[in-house]
């Protein structure tokens, strides 16, 4: 657990460093994610400690959203003003995104034969 967590935090730190040096507007942890995925696919293996620690954190991933989400209490005014319009945007764009993604995916797997 500790070994894997160390690797994950080290990769996050490396990502932050790369983002800082290159001034790319990409979050450091996302660069860390790309590094880990790239490394595993390139070497053809994922280190066992990373699997142990990663699964442990991801099991309760949604718990990690609570502290930031509670910050919403400071934005009551904006939500009262724009809330309804925001909900309309969310409903329509989520439906459009799922429709387009599924149609593109199906169009390109049809010839593969083993899609269904």
């Amino acid at each position: 657990m500790l070994e894997g967590l160390t690797i994950l935090i080290f990769l996050q730190f490396t990502g932050e460093l790369i983002a800082g040096v290159t001034r790319l507007p990409i979050p450091g942890p996302v660069i860390g994610l790309a590094l880990l995925a790239g490394f595993a696919l390139w070497r053809g293996r994922m280190p066992e400690p990373v699997i142990v620690a990663g699964d442990a954190i991801l099991r309760h991933l949604s718990l990690l959203f609570v502290p930031a989400g509670v910050g919403l209490i400071a934005f009551g005014d904006r939500l009262a003003r724009e809330g309804l319009l925001i909900v309309i945007v969310l409903v329509l764009s989520t439906a459009i995104t799922m429709t387009v993604t599924a149609l593109v995916f199906r169009a390109l797997t049809r010839d593969d034969g083993d899609a269904a």
């Binding site: 309760h60 949604s62 930031a68 934005f75």
Partner: protein, 242 residues
Amino acid sequence: MTLRSLDPSAFWIYLAEQPLFFLAITLAAYLVGDRIAAATRRHPLANPVLIAILLVGTALLVSGTSHARYFEGARFVHVLLGPATVALALPIWRNRALIARHWRAIGAALGIGALVGIGSTLILARLLGLSGATLASLAPKSVTAAIAMGIAEQVGGTPPLTAVLVIATGILGAVMVTPLMNLLRIRDYAARGFAVGIAAHGIGTARALQVNEKAGAYAALGMALNGLVTAILVPLLLFLFR
């Protein structure tokens, strides 16, 4: 300050000075949310995070506690978002066989799905006259809050607002996916799963896993891949849009 009296307000002041208290509150509220979700057999509308945010948020508002004070304790949970984001390489690694077999469909649906997810949000939000800060908070709404909050921070959005918009998007996607796909007559569970993973991240993936194992695998893959692609596309599209 020491605990000298049983006066409730003094007691609260004492508790509010202990960062550990807010850490405990955060975990307890999430457990309550999780119990409620389990009692509804994990209906998407009974989302544990949303319940926890409402419980803690109400407690802070009623007691007049600032978010900064609360965060002194809650940040011990928050700090794990970074390593959790890196760990999202795991679903990509586990489903590498799916990528190898359907790389054309996955690549095209990922690129187009990510573009449409961000683009449709920006266009609709602009048409409805939403403010610029709200636009930047909305743009990454299709990807997991772990990544979306980081993106929002980069582009001048409001991370707490993004967290809640992301969760709302996940709930909407989870509720809509089955009727929408039936309406479109899309029966392939790979396409259904991938679509909900791209559009509605972890909450959509949880829903896909309830319905079908294959849909769940494609959803987890779509969620992780879209986290990467959306982190690159949001700054670009917002730049073009302004």
